[in-house]
């Protein structure tokens, strides 16, 4: 009885040990293949979960099943209009066939080298067909699509799926940047000048219009004033003529007398003869 228990216990311990070295888990983020003495066993990769292998003779190689990132170094590329630009791209890729991947590139490092070669050259080819502004602006999507498709085709044989090649940054070399800054500055200076002269133009226009209006207003007023004065003068003349016309002789007489009164003042000097009617009674 006791002996049996002990035997059982030892069996369990050994069993556990064997189990521990035979069992392995593949994480949700991984894929694995089993290698037996250097040769892959089976034709399919192992997905996530608990798996077993033969201890000692088989070993497991794990692969990342997630989408991986390949961030290339920025690269100087010539566009079709002979401009240089620095293109910084990244590639999203995934190991789809671990067996092929293992035999052809073995590691992620190896894959990066292939990606670097292929994506880089594809980018070069695609970008070389377009002008700088096309790359920056409306052809960007098209270019990225073409590079993705072509790279995916070329890398499929490595067990790699290229999901996306995307242009992250498109920068200009420092010299070009300087000339763009120069141009931007010139453009803005032109614009500023235009604004100011437009302002001056509008201002001059307004002032001139105002001056003109003022002149017209005053001239109109003067014209009207002359008309009114004329009316007054005319009316007055008529009134005088009507009244005085009744006796021009008397008017001439009284008016002369009045004129004498006003005209002869302190500085006047009269030499009268006795015949003057004024002296009629002096004799």
């Amino acid at each position: 009885m006791k002996k049996r228990t002990i035997v059982l216990l030892i069996a369990v311990v050994i069993g556990l040990f064997v189990l521990a070295s035979a069992a392995f888990t593949v994480d949700q983020t991984q894929k694995a293949i089993v290698i037996q003495l250097g040769r892959p066993v089976g034709s399919k990769e192992l997905g996530p979960g608990l798996h077993f292998k033969l201890p000692l003779v088989q070993n497991v190689v794990f692969f990342d099943a997630r989408i991986l990132d390949f961030d290339a170094n920025p690269e100087e590329i010539t566009t079709t209009d002979k401009k240089y630009m620095e293109v910084d791209s990244y590639t999203k890729w995934r190991i789809v066939d671990p067996l092929t991947f293992y035999t052809k590139v073995r590691t992620i490092q190896g894959a990066r080298a292939r990606l670097d070669d292929i994506v880089r050259s594809q980018l070069r080819v695609a970008l070389g067909r377009y002008t700088l502004i096309e790359v920056v602006s409306h052809k960007r999507k098209e270019i990225m699509g073409a590079v993705t498709t072509r790279s995916a085709e070329l890398l499929a044989s490595y067990g790699i799926e290229v999901i996306d090649v995307r242009i992250k940054r498109t920068d200009l070399p420092a010299e070009n940047e300087r000339s763009i800054f120069g141009r931007m500055k010139a453009e803005r200076e032109r614009q500023a000048k235009q604004y100011r002269s437009e302002g001056r133009e509008a201002s001059a226009r307004l002032i001139a219009t105002a001056d003109k209006e003022r002149s017209i207003i005053l001239a109109d007023a003067n014209k009207q004033a002359e008309i009114v004065r004329g009316e007054g003068d005319g009316l007055a003349t008529k009134i005088y003529a009507d009244a005085l016309g009744q006796s021009p002789e008397f008017y001439a007489f009284t008016r002369s007398l009045e004129a004498y009164r006003k005209g002869f003042d302190a500085n006047s000097r009269f030499i009268l003869t006795p015949k003057s009617p004024f002296l009629d009674y002096m004799q």
């Binding site: 049996r4 064997v18 999901i163 931007m184 007489f253």
Partner: protein, 355 residues
Amino acid sequence: MNWDWEKLQKQQQGRPGGKPPSFDDFQDQFDKFKKFKLPGWKLIIPLIFLLWIASGFYIVEPDEVGVVKQFGQFLRITTAGPNYHIPFPVQSVLTPKVTQIRRIEFGFRSVGRARTQNFQQGASREVKEESLMLTGDENILSVQFIVQYMIKDAENYLFNVNDPEQTLAHAGEAAMREIIGKGKIDAALTTGKQEIQVETRILMQEILDKYETGLSVVAVQMQNVHPPDDVIDAFKDVASAREDKSRFINEAEAYQRDILPKARGEAARIVNAAQAYREAKVRKAEGDAARFLSVLAEYNKAKDITRRRLYIETMEQIFANPEVEKLIMSDDALKKSVPYLPLEKLPKRAPKAQQ
């Protein structure tokens, strides 16, 4: 798999175990060992077992979900509250915070602040290699923006992409540059911001969905969009030129509004003065005429005498002035002695002050 686990198990179980060469010696030693250990045995084993069972309890906070894996494989999603999983090594649980809104900065870094905390304007530092981008009209613009995002699918977030945050950062840069690259610099600087934000958010989401990152872009917010430092003065000058323009116009309008009413006032004054003149003139004429007619009426009644009276009165008035010099000469004397009158030598009237 080209080997059979069960067969192996059977092989091992069916092995003639329990008869190793020195089994008796071993058993003696084992007995000793057992006797020595025995006191705690019955207590420790269940205790360890209980602890192991208890380690399966976990709590999912309200802002989290529990993602349970069994032997590494995704098994189920659990929601907030206390939960249980079969303890290590069978099952394990991850609890990502799915309701939390995170943020990531592009083109600048807030100084002394963690990326996930609230943004505080001011304390930031520009990262030029991220912020400078080319626009569709071949200008360069500095764009600083933030992206707010959250986990919308914990399973994808945890298992699908290696470093989802880095992926988001890349996608954000690529998307913003693509959108800015399509537009013109003035739109990005002025009225086009809203549109750019929306388009960038949509594009980013498209990219992230393509990679099945399990991330959701909540908002893209442009923070500081300005021309690069090298040209900013020229841009500022354009703004002040625009101000100058409206200033010039305003000044001219002010001038206009100043002189025109003045001119209208002056015009009214001129016209009124003329009217006053007319009225005065007419009234004077009427007065004069009335006066004349009155006098004439009386004159007609006694012509001679009135004539005479008027003449004498007038002459009287003239001669009454003591300063008027009067000289009476007979006709003969005048004819004889004054053929030439030395007007200059006649005494002038003395100045009034000496009188």
